[in-house]
Amino acid sequence: MYDIIGYDDQQLKTVGDNLGLALNEMQSLKEYFIHLGRNPEDIEIQAVAQAWSEHSCYKSSKIYLKKYFSDLKSDYTILTMEDDAAVVSINEDYAYVVKMESHNHPSAVEPYGGAATGVGGIIRDVLCMGAQPVALVDSLYFGNPENTSGFLSERFIMNRVIAGIRDYGNRVGIPTIAGSVDFDESYNTIPLVDAGCIGIVKKDKVVRSFVNKVGDLLIVCGGRTGRDGIHGVNFASKILDKSNEENKNAVQLGNPIIKEPLIHAILEINELGIIDGMKDLGGGGFSSAVSEILHAGGISAEIDLDSVLLKDKNMNAWEIWVSESQERMLLALNEHNLKKAEEIFKKWGIEFSVIGKTISNKNLIIKYKNKKIMDMDLAFLTSGPEYKRDFKPRERINSETVVREPENYINFIHDFVQRPNLCSRFNIVRQYDFTVRGNTINRPFTGIPNHETHSDASVFKALEDSFIGISLTSGSREKLVDIDPYEGTIEVLIESYKNTICTGSIPNGVVDAMNFGNPEVPETMYNFIESAHAISDFCKKMNLPLVSGNVSFYNETDSREIKPTPNILMIGTISDVRRVKTSEFKKEGDPVYLVGELINSLAGSEYAEVFSSRSTSLIKIDYVHLKEIMNKIHEGNSTIMAMHDISQGGLLMSLLEMSFGNNLGIDADISNIDGNTNTKLFSELGTAMLIEVDSSMEEQFLKIFKDIHKVKIGKTSRDHIIIKNMGKTIISENKEILRNLWEHGLDKYI
């Protein structure tokens, strides 16, 4: 036991360092207990350390989240930024539930378990709203695959993260349908794993993340509580340290074989309408879940720690309280309904125990071995500090470098299509089951079987008795955000928007997963604020609600930090999945149009990366006309054969990817686009996308798109890629040669 009330600042600091609390936080803790006239029990200190960690209370980001994200609702959003996941209306009876969270720190020390439990955790977030999880999304960020300098090599991290997602998602029976994989040196030894999940719920069966009924029983069900995953949240709020021995207990291993029946049991109990409140046990374990479910409902509880089912009999009380063991859910039920719940748990072979009862009190009381070991004000415990950290833009010398042209385009393109950031994702995504449940309409890959190309967004059929579909797309553009956090983040959102509308869907909601370095560094804080500001502006201008989000700070090692990575998950809806458009060319002789604005700049592009050219600014982009493009796509749906956005790799990669999914090539002339040959082919900025128009309906298409900026760039052809500019042939190559290089780009790593 610590003598907190007797400690001087130096001693407080030492204890605080161990717990991940700052000195001023330790001082307010000391003050609180001086006021009570006693020293805290271990469990009380540990509970505070959990609740006040960056991971749990968002102490560095809170004020900006309030400032920028609090008024981004819509008339069809039901719950945003309130409970464990967002609830958004689909039609009169049903809603979707969505959430995305990062699991970066655990994945850095134990990539397999870290990634798997990231998936497991996000499924529980959706489940605890009473929803059936139906699809998973994963955006992954890895270092240079050649790097071996870390505690674990990049290839080890990469392969194990992918295996973790594969094993968990496939075993639990929920398809992994969308996501992204990026490579950048800044993620060396600090991988990012952003996992998202979407579920479907009947509107009258939504369960809230609070309980306000006094006398309810608190029940924990699913996995047992063990020593695994102790101090996960404090650890997530600390800098990764190669020699940090204490990290070892912070690792959790998932168990999807328990999760699957747990999902059935919870949904069946919820069908009876007897759950008064529910939360998943994630970061911070009981400590976070119990405190939050009670505090949000304005009541408290008396907890009997002896009744918690344990994996390891020799655990200390505080360890039980903060353990982050997986596959556990917390439910509040009326005593009379316990029997009904018990029958269902039994049927599915799920263990559970009643751990306490709600009371009307402001203090949370915990008893263990006939002794009161916690008696603390819930408001004090859960409020946590709030900081307004210093921020300032990074100093940079403004210099715009002109990127040169390659000496030989054909050789350059051969190398270009194999680059890890551009080549096919088959080796990774084919490990995931993306069709289980049988509702995936537009898969991550599209085209001729075993000869597919990349999709823009994935679409699944959302409801049993309707053709309504939901589209999902997720990713970030860290190289752009690193140049300019505001404009870069806008580009991330533009890309999500383009991906969504390229499937014929209508953007419906935005989820952010903000990954940044150390918030105590003013330049990092500035990046975060600007990025949040951009998300807010974009959502307002495009009339999109921001429905849920997550902030992960301290993605750094002792010497460097990651590029700012605001990952955006965009949800779209389509009234009829039979209207979904895919990205591969469909038939020979169709005209291909570039629609929207392609910005004449190579800033942050993969092309500039090849020449190691760094830009210091991004051009401000007008993007509001994307709404108009979306409306026209909707109107001209029947005239469109295929669509694909222009993003990483520029116009060239988009054209190639469209041809890779079918036995068709392209005969293109890009003379009518503004810019130099290299900016035309490789610019990744702006609102541009490619549309293949049905040759028999070109006139109709042109009528519908008459007020939209567009350039006709060529026609689909038989199996050859020909691109000309100003009378010069840049490339004329058999499509299969390029496809082959593109397809096998990751072979040597995975």
Binding site: E110, Y112, L152, S153, G226, N249, V251, G254, N255, I257
Partner: protein, 80 residues
């Protein structure tokens, strides 16, 4: 020289495969099983002497076969 490497989870790290086996054995009526653990075993044949073999396989085990955060390993000689 033939060498055997045995990899296991550290104490306190949950072993989901073993738990599933244990659970299913009890469903099948094998009530006498108290605990199950899973191990992974590798066998190597080297062209090196004993000292060098152990050194090399130790490095391989540490760098490639295991993640020290959750796993532990044991190296044994099987035969010359």
């Amino acid at each position: 020289m033939r060498i055997r490497v045995e990899v296991k989870y550290l104490e306190n790290v949950e072993d989901p495969e073993a738990l599933s086996i244990q659970r299913n054995l009890s469903l099948l009526g094998y009530d006498g099983i108290k605990k199950v653990k899973t191990y992974k075993v590798y066998e190597f044949e080297t062209s090196l002497g004993e000292h060098d073999s152990f050194e090399e396989i130790n490095t391989i085990s540490e760098r490639i076969l295991t993640n020290p955060v959750i796993q532990d390993y044991k190296i044994e000689k099987i035969s010359d």
